[in-house]
Symmetry: none
Subunit: 429 residues, 2 copies
């Protein structure tokens, strides 16, 4: 039986925006929202993209109310006149726009923090259809709106929830995670669901799948495994569904233990913790500091590390040595080493790691040199060749790494490889 | 008048696939197809994602035929039993499946090239609903299918075209570019369409909208303006439609000229060029080099610059000076300056810019110091405070910048601000 379409509250996602229909923006909102709703136990049965057009919005809303229990809408909430979602929602629910003090308070706060006056245009964003509940937007000026119809209204057999959110991804995501999903779960109480995400680095999906097959085929009924590959990383997600939350949690954690025994060397973290957060936690625990010396990654490793709040406690800094002269003069790589072995070599990357560790007074250092492409390859050192070195209080070691031929992905993959090498080095120290 | 929805043939895209509804795969097909169709003069008025489910497919098809003139379908054409699109299309058009010699020929050819025998499962892929035209698939085994209804059939006022294609992006893309779009243009002869995108930095959407309103309200009929905000950036897109391609292009370019006169300081590029690509182009033209000294941006500016292929021609490197000691020892910031003014100050960021420019032998330098948050703010220097300095062959200048309270966005916004300050400095040099 395909439980997916039969057992639970159905959701439809409606993304509004002309820009999505001329392909200028990829609709990442739909996939993110679909995933989050699935994880929360609310299967998404349809996602629809429509333009900022009254008739299209009215029609899509009408069709969706006949089909599903939950409608999530994004987009068309900006202050400019091409954004009409709020007005159309007012018409759809036969509600006039009223000024919301709460929403205005949030908008005013946001402008005060940034040192700007609130314009009349922004003030109008505090108007919402009467009867809806305002969902605060802590990252922008457009408030979210929650509409509800009880079972029985308009001849419905079940309740209907319609939520309108801004289309700006990070505003929508915060609203969904912090407010909309917890509230939907509270109100609609779907089947118990439990997810455990296991992050792996250093092994491709098909090799991983071969290693895990004997375990996967013996997974208990009610637990499913999904492979979610990203450049340089494969996430494994175990999903358990059932009536008893404690029971499915216990079963899932048991399976995670078995998994850890099969691939201990590839697992670096769980659930929402990123590799850079793991590094930060491990360094903070050891009260140790870090520096990086980057050639082909161009500052991306430093960027990952400093994207973690509080990273100034353990991160000293980085020398992005794109030019060889910077490798020499700032990092102390010997000219003879560069001339003899070339910039992309074990010798140079080792001197970079030792140099930056000493110069920036760090306990640990990561150094990377490689050819990210698409140009710069040679027959001996093709595009994708990279060397990574880790310097520790106990010494230094380097590893050859072969990336692909896509610049952006190469930078990310080699950065993640470097971070995971560091993680293992710290833990085994 | 919004010509968009009134004047031309309307298209709906239906993407079929369970994997798209659990967020496992981002639906890049929809945005690519939307863009290609828009550029070809066929506005897409809706895109819909539905599961591999008979009822859902039938309903979506029925609704779409009532709404539009062209329906493009992807997905559900594989040989396994969860792929049901072809069978449902047969039912929808009341046509039984018949064996297509042409389609089988293509399948056989593909297998011969790869050195595999044709299995019974793959042979069945040569069956198509009677009356459809087969669209050859040169990259895979699932043929495309073209269905057509003439105006008058089923009481239609205009013709209907339904095209079914595989969901594998590169198979679909080749089919669309080489066969579907040329044929649609030949058969349906759409209106001419022209897009121009203008990238701005340094001004928020609502302020921009206020400045542009007098111009926007006087835009000629047939030209529309869209605001497409991203963190730190607002894109403006002019879209023109008409019967004479040269004429709408001339009109649009004229409006861009007027726009340039209103906000010259905020415009940094056009169409698909990113700010970091503009910087690269400008530096390469001047044969000048660049270095960065980054505190709160933590290497992100260097990462943006080095994400451009060929950036090693003009980028020397960066010193990410997270710790004050690195600012002193590597960049040569005076200890007294740090003690007197603090790390986030005009004086320190100026010394950082001058220091990195000299140390890394660059013509230009960007330096940034700020409090990205969420911690580290004080009453005098709250989270979001930043100083940016630009050093040039002619001197140095610094600017105070107030960000928001979201770490990731602060980093991006201040990086873009720094890049745009640099761009203006180079161009006015």
């Amino acid at each position: 039986m395909k439980c997916f379409y039969l057992c639970t509250m159905k959701t439809e996602i409606i993304n509004i925006g002309d820009e999505l229909l001329i392909g200028q923006v990829v609709n990442t909102n739909a996939s993110w929202m679909s995933e989050q709703m699935s994880l929360a136990g609310f299967p998404v049965v349809r996602t629809t993209v429509i333009p900022d057009n009254r008739t299209e919005i009215m029609t899509a809303l009408q069709e969706a109310t006949e089909r599903v229990d939950i409608i999530l809408i994004t987009g068309g909430l900006g202050p400019t006149k091409d954004d009409i979602t709020k007005a159309v929602l007012g018409d759809f629910f036969h509600a006039k726009l009223v000024f919301s003090e709460a929403a205005y308070h949030d908008i005013e706060h946001l402008f005060t923090v940034r040192g700007f006056p609130v314009t009349a245009l922004n003030r109008s964003q505090a108007e919402v259809p009467e009867g809806c509940e305002v969902i605060p937007n802590r990252n922008g000026t457009a408030p979210g709106m929650w509409f509800e119809k009880k079972a029985g209204a308009d001849g419905r057999t079940g309740p209907l929830v319609v939520v309108s959110m801004p289309g700006v991804p990070f505003e929508m995501k915060a609203m969904m995670s912090e407010q909309v999903i917890p509230r939907l779960r509270e109100k609609l109480r779907p089947m118990a669901i439990y997810h455990k995400t296991i992050w792996t680095q250093g092994i491709g999906e098909s090799f991983l799948s071969d290693m895990l097959e004997p375990w996967e085929t013996k997974l208990p009924e009610g637990i499913t495994l999904a492979y979610l590959p990203q450049p340089g990383i494969v996430r494994l997600r175990l999903t358990a569904r059932g009536n008893d939350e404690a029971e499915i949690r216990r079963m899932t954690d048991g399976e995670v233990k078995k998994l850890e025994a099969i691939i201990p060397q590839y697992i670096y973290g769980y659930d929402n913790e990123t590799l850079e957060e793991v590094i930060g936690r491990v360094l903070a625990e050891k009260k140790a500091t870090l520096a990086t010396a980057e050639s082909c990654t161009g500052g991306y490793i430093a960027h990952l590390i400093t994207s973690v709040a509080g990273s100034s406690r353990y991160f000293q800094g980085s020398v992005v040595a794109y030019a060889n002269r910077v490798k020499e003069e700032v990092l102390g790589v010997k000219r003879s080493t560069l001339e003899q072995h070339g910039a992309v070599s074990e010798q140079v990357v080792t001197e970079m790691a030792l140099g930056v560790r000493e110069k920036l007074h760090a306990d640990y250092a990561i150094a990377v040199s490689g050819i990210a492409g698409p140009d710069g390859g040679t027959p001996e050192k093709p595009v994708g060749t990279a060397w990574i070195a880790i310097a520790t209080p106990g010494g230094v070691f380097a590893k050859h790494y072969l990336m692909g031929d896509h610049r952006e992905r190469n930078i990310r993959r080699v950065a993640l490889e470097g971070l995971n090498m560091l993680r293992k080095a710290i833990l085994s120290a």
